[in-house]
Every structure is written in structure tokens, then in C-alpha cells.
Amino acid sequence: MFNPQLIRRAVPTILLTFLALPAAAQSFRVQCPTQTKLHPLVNGLPNPHIKCQQISGGDGFATMGDGTQTYMFSFGPLSGLADIVNGQPGTETAAVFNQNNLDPSGNVLDAVKIGAPDGASYAFNGAIGLVPDVEAQNGNIPAQPTTGPGSELSPAAWAQQHALLTGHVDPRLVMDVGVLNGNIPAPMIAIDEGDELFLTLTNVGMVMRPDLFEQHTVHFHGYPNASAFYDGVPDASVAINIGGSFTYYYLAPEAGTYMWHCHISPPEHLQMGMVGQLYVRPRQNSVATGASLYAQLNTDQSDVSKKCDRTDMLCSAQLPAAANSVARDATKHYAYDDGDGSTAFDVEYPIQMHGFDPNFHFVGMTFNPESFADNKDKFFLPNGRSYPDTINTAPLSTQATDGTPHFSQPLNTVINIPANGKALLRISDLNVTEFHTLASLGIKMHVIGLNARLLRDQDGNNMDYYTNSITLGGGETIDVILDATGIAAPQKFYLYTPQLDHLSNDAENFGGMMTEVNVCNAVDPTSKKCS
């Protein structure tokens, strides 16, 4: 019945049909469309609600509070470099992200180089590596004129200027910037409710561990109704090999303080430093000044994608129990879609709590087998630094094994609050070994949100509370407001941990999980400096 010869010949044919690949076989690549179905062009320009970010997955070094250099597996910035070194999120609009890395003559921009960003004057925020794909677009590039404007250019320069940015990257540029360029915390991601986020992870490899073929992923920790495909769990989706890129796509969920981290071998990659901050700002920030917050939230109830009542068990921003006339304050922002202004603040401070076990990091750098049961953190890191580095307002850099200093810890944790104003602390914990307590001396902590949800019951009553300290396990977030109303400026207070063994930097017995709170006359909401 069967002809074995025929079957043998047919097998390669069948196998060949299996090998048909999708059109976009790729290695390094970024994705950042200027328009989507949801967000079309605005007056012919990229839609500002499309946000893009590129990050490297690799390794790097950080400086601990006692001056030691610690090896990390880490994410580094590959877009928004200037913003990140200034302590800002590296999330950019499509217009900023999509910048050619070549000048009009086809030369690589000075900003794209080993050790970038390299100083306070560094200003480039575009995607690293992004160049026109001249070869792929050869047929679509208009013919170069032989006389008049354009004729003076070399054919290569003409082609370069007229080819489009399609997400094609020059891998050399990515490697120049991305290798040994890890940050702790990883590049900050901040978006607005309703934004579309295109986050490209580019795995540049870990040059200190050539024996490892480590994949990396991004887990959007706490995202409601997460997609398994974009959840970053390698067991349940895909993981990104060295030399590859992957673009994660999410429509921003409900406002709140989330976080992100790698999900490859979490006890190892998280301890080694692949942890970052992520928050979503509420749509209430776009209510017109003077308009009623309650009225807007009430209007939202007729939109099924925004409504929240007890028929949905898993939403928290319900209408307040009683109608109110609180108006959008021109000078404030909000943590949640509260409808009553109860989450208003003047300036916000993301604080990520983490810990490093120096033994584990040493083992991680030196090709030794790891143990997990005996993990014991010795460095306690709000935003990747220990006190007194937490109050150093400059970005910290660490010389890596390539002999070049790399910005390793861009974020200080100085909390400046304007007199009679409010600071929002977006606190997250990604420690992998123990719980962390953070206490406030002098100013009460006003807890308004937990695990990226407004504290409000199903009758619409706020469940906010006052306390002097909060305790989080790994994988938890909390939103705390420090209210400086009635406190004369200038005055200094402290955030610190009453877990006294966490007030140390390894052998140094004072440092660790601690920082300063300043009440001053005015604070710039962007630079967060007292003025």
C-alpha cells in the first residue's frame, strides 16, 4: 500500500514546508510605529500616545555604599539615555524614539558610542542603533538628481537620507552602547493610561560570562489581564536569545505603581540585578483645570472600558461614596482615577527596594555553582544605592572591566517636598530573599494605594490610612503620600528602615536602606530639585 521510496522522497518536501519562515526574520530590531489603529497620526505627525523604549539585557557593574564594585546581570538603556541619566523614565514618544543614528552625511552621531551616556551634557534620547535600511529599500528610494539640490551628495549619502527608518538597527552601534552598560534599577518605564507601549528588549549577551547563553525577558509585574505571550515567563512564552530582539506590546492598563523584571531563572537574575520600575499615570491628569474630577469619573461610567462598580470584582477606582466638587488643580498630579482628589501630589518619587548578596554576586561573576537557600543580602538598596549614596544627587558611574566608566545607578532617593505640598512615593520591592520595612521619621506616611490599586471599598469609601512604616515582600508595591502641610521650610527628615541589620553596607555598620526628606520652599516637578 505504501511505497517506502515515495515516502522517503516526500519527507524532505514536507520538512521544507515546515521551514517556511515569517517575513520578518530578524536579529536586533526595534518596533515603534508612528501610528496605529487606536492612535492615528495627529496632523500628519506621530501620535504622542504611542510610547517606545529599548533596553539591553546583559551585564554590568555597580558601586556599593562601601565603595566595592559589584557584578550584575542587568538591563541597560538603549533609548532615552539622556533622560535616564537625569533620573527620568526612558520611555519616549515615537517622534523622539525614531531618530536616525547617522548624520546627513551618513556618519554615526557622536552620541552613539562606548560608555554613552557620558556626561551631563549628553542629550540624545533616540533609539540606539536605529539607521535606515538602505539595502532593503533600494527600489523605493527616489532617483538622485544629476543637477541642483541633492546632486552634490554621494550616492550613499543620498540613499541614506531618503531611506526610511523601519526599525532596522546597526548591531555594531547597539553593542557599542549596550555591552557592560547595565543599570540598577533597570531603566524606568512610565506611561499614561491609554498609551500603547512598544518595549524592545535587545539581548547583547553577558561578556563577563561567556560560558552562559542566557536568555532574558521582561515581566510586567502586576499587569491586570496580562497576555501570557507578553508576560515574560520563559516557561509560558518565548525568551530572547543573545543577539536577538523582541518587542513587547501592551495597551497601558489602569493607573498604578507596577514594576518590571527579567523572569529567566528568577532567583538568579533578580538577585543579580535585573529589576526595574514601571508606573502608569491616571487619565485623571488630563481633566481640564478647574473641571470636576467626580463629574469626569461619573461620565467614565458609561464607557465599559473605564467603568468600575461591584459587578467587576477586580477594579478599585469606583465612584466616591458621595458626590463632591473637588476640581482639577492646575499644579497637582494624581496617583489614581480617584474622583475626589484624594491622591493628589506635587512631585513623585519612585523608590524600588532591593538587596544584593555579595557572595552570590561574586559566585555569579566567577563561574561557580550557586546556592539559593543560604542567600543573605548584605547591601540594602533603595533605587540601587545604599546610604549615603542615596543622597548623592549626581548619577553614579562605575568603571567596568572594559576600562570605561558606565552610568550604573542613575537614581538618587532624595525626597524634596515643597512647603505645604505633597510627595507621592511609589514604593516597590523586588528583593528575592526577605521582607523590607521603610519608616518615616517626622512626617506621617499616608497610604493611598496598594499593589497598583486605589485603596477604596465597593461602597466608594476610601480605605487610606496613616502609618509610620510600611512593610513589603518581594513583588509588592505601595503608594504613600508624604504631606508637608504646616511644616516650615527648610527642614530635613529621614526615611530609614527599623530593620537595623539593613542599616549597613556589608561590613560598614551604618548605611543601607536610608535617605533624606527635605521640605523646601519650592520643588521643580521634573528635576525634583529644591528651588
Binding site: D235, M313, T433, R453, D459
Partner: protein
């Protein structure tokens, strides 16, 4: 080539359908336990020694509760005790299932090694009277080879724990703990006050045995609601008991277990500090053993698993107990949970209007920290709402999808008043649609920018070449939910990864999420990753029945 392609595709699709009709997903989780008879249930327990197995190959000496004589029954009906019955020693102890208002009698016989001394049981949250035994500090104790009987009124519904009240630092560590589930007085019925269908809301609250006529209508619940409250309804339930073990303590106890001894406090000298746990357990098992079925013969002393499955839209009751001495931040991927109750006490509002129905006041959490001695009841739900792309890959191009396919552009998604396709929609879903509870605002929205396979194009992203990424064993092979969308999304390219067994692309193709301790060092088994306190939770498409029976 073209013919070969379409032939291959048909072959794959055909095979998938055959498989789908044959296989349910072997989830086998639910919350099985033993019952003790009506109104005055009685349980005859024994504390004794034995061994449990761990995935690193270790066999660990433990003490556990078991059945001295066989119980009068077990629940739920679809997950009965195996023919071998309730063992003499198990970890955790037998889950005792009773009804609110029952007077519960628990007899404990002490068959621990003589060197362990007396033992006892605490029932936190209940007023206990004891008969027999000898007085201890926290409870009346069972002396060697003798029994004590505890009686209490199960007046508080919900999830409760029981554990040793004697030398807890050693006896609880050794494994003497278990759970009590008190079913609300509404029993299998729906609590009053539920917003019934007809008000434009989906039917998500069913009396036991009266489920919706969905493709998968199996019912494995113990009750229709966790509490006597309309917001405590659920359609599926799981329980996770968290504990840890320091193997040094267990080996010391083993060495001293044969000491001759006549003291009521025992004769052991086991150092329970400093404490270095190396095993981190959910229901007495470490990952991946927790994914094997309940009552699996592989684990004769660890009958309960941790392997949650659900369908989109189902309300899932999650019962969590901290049984060890440490806190564990349990992170649930995929969505928040609404905390219903702590230690069997509902967290409710105080309505402004007297007599009005109190509503839920528990927080929404994506990390539910377990605390020693504390129980949590929470409701979880996953729908895929708001991703801005159609998880079933429905497309407006019916021809591309194929007329027999679920992705056919004609497949409806009529929103109910919350935006989902349910029995509350107009016209209503019948309850047997493959896309029941779909979020209709995303219906037919494409994910992929370029045409590929038989799913829509014009979406926001380009997916990676499947050959340059690493594919996980729980990855169905596409971003989409269900075998139909999975098959259509790959065109002539076979679905990676080959050999996926935990989430078959052709018959299940669910969304897999990790539920795990976020003290990540605890997702290891004696220093081996992966292991420990980890589970893979699967959201299965409605076409894939979830089988939690034995």
C-alpha cells in the same frame, strides 16, 4: 507546494480536533478532602511518622496527620478518595470539610515515636472543648498511643487551619498541620442578593450542579459560594498551603526517633534554630511535583496538588494558608485577586443605609503574602480585557479564517453591560460559545501588522521569527487562545515548540501563568531551580474541558 501546505494544515487541524475531543486537561486540582457525616461530623485522626518525597530525589522523614479509621465520606463528589483510602500519614493533614453550624468532633490518636512526647491540635478561631488526654499549655494533649477528642462549633464559614499545639517549633515543622473548610449555611445554593441574569449581567453564580450549559459544564466545587454573601460566589476553587522545611531538623528528628522515653515532653533535643529551610512547599509538594494530580500514587503521603486551571471569565476562589513559620509573598501572574476574607472573617463595608447589603472591602492584590497561621480567601478572574487585540484572533476576513473556524468573521461578540459576550448580552450568548466571556471591544482587533497564517493583519506589532527565540514547555506556540487560533496563526510553519506537553498546542493552547513565591530563592528545591513554591496556572479556552476528577 500550495497543496501540500493546505493538506498539512488540514491534517494538523483535523488531528487537533480529534485530540480535543479525546482529551480534557488533566488539571485535577479542586479542593478535595474528607467529610465526617451530617450535622455532627466526626473525624478520627492519627499523628504518626512517615516519609515524603521531593523532586530532587530526597525522601524526608516527617510527622503528619492521617486517618486512624476511614472517614465517612469525601468531597467533592467528582474527586473521591482513591481506592487506597485516606492514608495514616499525609502532608498536609486531611482537609476536613464541614458545614457552617456543624458540631465537629475530631479525635486525635498519638502514634508519634515515643521520643516525640505528647501532641495536640489547635483549631484557631473556634471554641474547643476537649475530652480525654492530658493537659498541655495551649490544648489538651494526646499522650503516647492514647487519644484526645476535641469538639467545636463550626460557626465561621471559609478556610481555616489546624495544627499541632505542642512543641510547635518542632511538630509543625515536622508536618503536623492541615486545613478545615467550613461551607456556608447556604450550602450548594446561591446566596441571596446576587444580581441575577436578566439584569444584563452574566450568569456567574450557580447552585451546585446547576452550571451554565457551557462547552465545559463539569462542576468540581464544594459549594456555590465561599460565604453567605452574593459576592462570594465562585465557579472553581483551589487551596494552597505554604510551608517550608529545614532538612537538618528532619534528619535530627529521625536520628532521635528511636530513643526510649517516658516523658510527656518527649526526649528529643532537636535544634530548630538557626533555621535554614531548603524545601519550600505548596500542599506538601515542590514544583514540578505539585502539577501532578491529586491522590497521585506517586506521592502516597502527599495527596494534594497545586495545579490551577480556569476558563476566561470564571470566578475562581483561591484559598491560601500560611502553615510554616515564614511569610511568603505569593505572586499571582495574570491579574489581581480581590481579598474576600482573612481567617474566615469577611472584609466588608459598613453601608451608610441601615440594612443595606454590605459590599466587599478587601484590597485588590497581585501579591498575596502568606502569613504563619493565617488563611486568606480571595476571588480571581481572568478575561483578557483591554489588550487591544483579539485573543481568539477573530478576523473580519472570514475567507482567510476558514468558514468552519472559530475565527470566522461571523463569530459574534455582543457586549453585555460590562462589555463581555455572556448570557447578559443582547442577543444573549447561549453559554456554549468558544469565545464565551470575550471582551468585545477587542473583538477582531488584529495583533500582527503583516498578514501571516489565517489571522487578521493591520495590527501594531511584528512577531519574532519563532526559530530565533527559546520556546517554553507551557508555551502553546502563539499569542492566541485556543487550538483553533493557534493553528490559524502559524500558517505553514509548524507550531513551536515541538514536543510541548504541558499545554498542548493542538488540544489545549491555553494561556499559562506562573503563580509563585516572589521571595524567588523559594522557587528552588534544595538549591535547585526550578522547584519549590511554584505553580503554572492555565487559562484554558472554553473548548478545552477542565478535568479535575481522579
Amino acid at each position: 507546494m500550495r497543496n501540500t501546505n493546505s493538506f498539512t494544515r488540514r491534517l494538523q487541524a483535523g488531528a487537533a480536533m480529534v485530540l480535543a475531543s479525546l482529551l480534557g486537561c488533566a488539571a485535577q486540582a479542586a479542593v478535595p478532602g474528607i467529610t465526617g457525616g451530617a450535622a455532627t461530623p466526626s473525624f478520627d485522626l492519627v499523628a504518626t511518622q512517615g516519609y515524603v518525597s521531593q523532586p530532587d530525589g530526597a525522601s524526608i522523614y516527617v510527622w503528619g496527620y492521617g486517618c486512624n479509621t476511614q472517614p465517612s465520606g469525601s468531597a467533592p463528589g467528582a474527586v473521591p478518595l482513591p481506592s487506597t483510602g485516606c492514608p495514616k500519614m499525609q502532608l498536609p493533614g486531611p482537609t476536613l470539610i464541614v458545614n457552617q453550624g456543624d458540631t465537629v468532633k475530631v479525635t486525635l490518636t498519638n502514634n508519634l515515636p515515643r521520643a516525640a512526647g505528647n501532641t495536640s491540635i489547635l483549631f484557631p478561631g473556634f471554641h474547643v472543648t476537649a475530652v480525654g488526654g492530658a493537659p498541655g499549655i495551649l490544648a489538651q494533649e494526646a499522650t503516647q498511643a492514647a487519644a484526645v477528642t476535641y469538639t467545636f462549633l463550626a460557626d465561621t464559614a471559609g478556610t481555616h487551619s489546624y495544627y499541632s499545639g505542642t512543641q510547635g517549633d518542632l511538630q509543625v515543622e515536622m508536618g503536623l498541620y492541615g486545613a478545615i473548610i467550613v461551607l456556608p449555611s447556604t450550602g450548594g445554593g446561591v446566596p441571596t442578593g446576587y444580581l441575577a441574569p436578566g439584569t444584563g449581567l452574566p450568569n456567574t453564580c450557580f447552585a451546585l450542579g446547576a452550571k451554565l450549559a457551557t462547552l465545559d459544564s463539569n462542576d468540581y466545587r464544594l459549594a456555590a459560594a465561599a460565604y453567605n454573601h452574593p459576592s462570594a460566589c465562585y465557579e472553581r476553587e483551589y487551596m494552597f498551603q505554604f510551608s517550608e522545611m529545614d532538612p537538618a531538623i528532619h534528619s535530627q528528628a529521625l536520628q532521635q526517633s528511636t530513643l526510649t522515653c517516658a516523658q510527656t515532653t518527649g526526649c528529643m533535643s532537636v535544634a530548630t534554630e538557626p533555621y535554614h529551610p531548603a524545601y519550600f512547599l505548596i500542599n506538601g509538594r515542590s514544583f514540578p511535583d505539585d502539577a501532578d494530580p491529586n491522590y497521585s500514587s506517586l506521592y502516597p503521603s502527599q495527596p494534594y496538588n497545586g495545579n490551577p486551571h480556569m476558563h476566561p471569565g470564571e470566578l475562581v476562589l483561591v484559598r491560601v494558608i500560611g502553615q510554616g513559620r515564614m511569610q511568603h509573598p505569593l505572586h499571582e501572574h495574570a491579574n489581581h485577586l480581590r481579598l474576600l476574607a482573612r481567617d474566615g472573617n469577611m472584609l466588608l463595608t459598613t453601608p451608610a443605609t441601615q440594612g443595606a447589603l454590605p459590599k466587599l472591602a478587601g484590597p485588590l492584590l497581585f501579591t498575596t503574602t502568606t502569613t504563619p497561621g493565617q488563611t486568606l480567601d480571595a476571588i480571581f478572574q481572568f478575561t483578557g480585557k483591554g489588550l487591544n487585540w483579539d485573543v481568539y484572533a477573530h478576523t473580519s476576513n472570514a475567507a482567510a479564517a476558514g468558514s468552519g473556524s472559530e475565527g470566522n468573521g461571523g463569530a459574534p461578540c455582543n457586549p453585555d453591560k460590562n462589555g463581555y459576550y455572556t448570557t447578559g448580552s443582547t442577543p444573549p450568548a447561549m453559554g456554549n460559545e468558544p469565545n464565551y466571556y470575550e471582551w468585545c471591544l477587542d473583538h477582531k482587533l488584529p495583533l500582527e501588522s503583516k498578514p501571516f497564517g489565517s489571522v487578521g493583519s493591520g495590527g501594531p506589532v511584528t512577531l519574532p521569527d519563532p526559530t530565533i527565540v527559546a520556546n517554553g514547555p507551557w508555551y502553546s506556540g502563539s499569542p492566541y487562545l485556543g487550538p483553533d487560533a493557534n493553528m490559524r496563526s502559524v500558517g505553514p510553519t509548524p507550531i513551536p515548540p515541538f514536543g510541548t506537553i504541558a499545554n498542548d498546542p493542538g488540544s489545549e493552547a491555553g494561556f499559562a501563568y506562573m503563580w509563585h513565591s516572589h521571595n524567588e530563592r523559594e522557587i528552588t528545591t534544595n538549591n535547585i531551580f526550578p522547584g519549590g513554591m511554584m505553580m503554572m496556572m492555565l487559562v484554558d479556552p472554553w473548548v478545552s474541558p477542565i478535568n479535575e476528577a481522579n
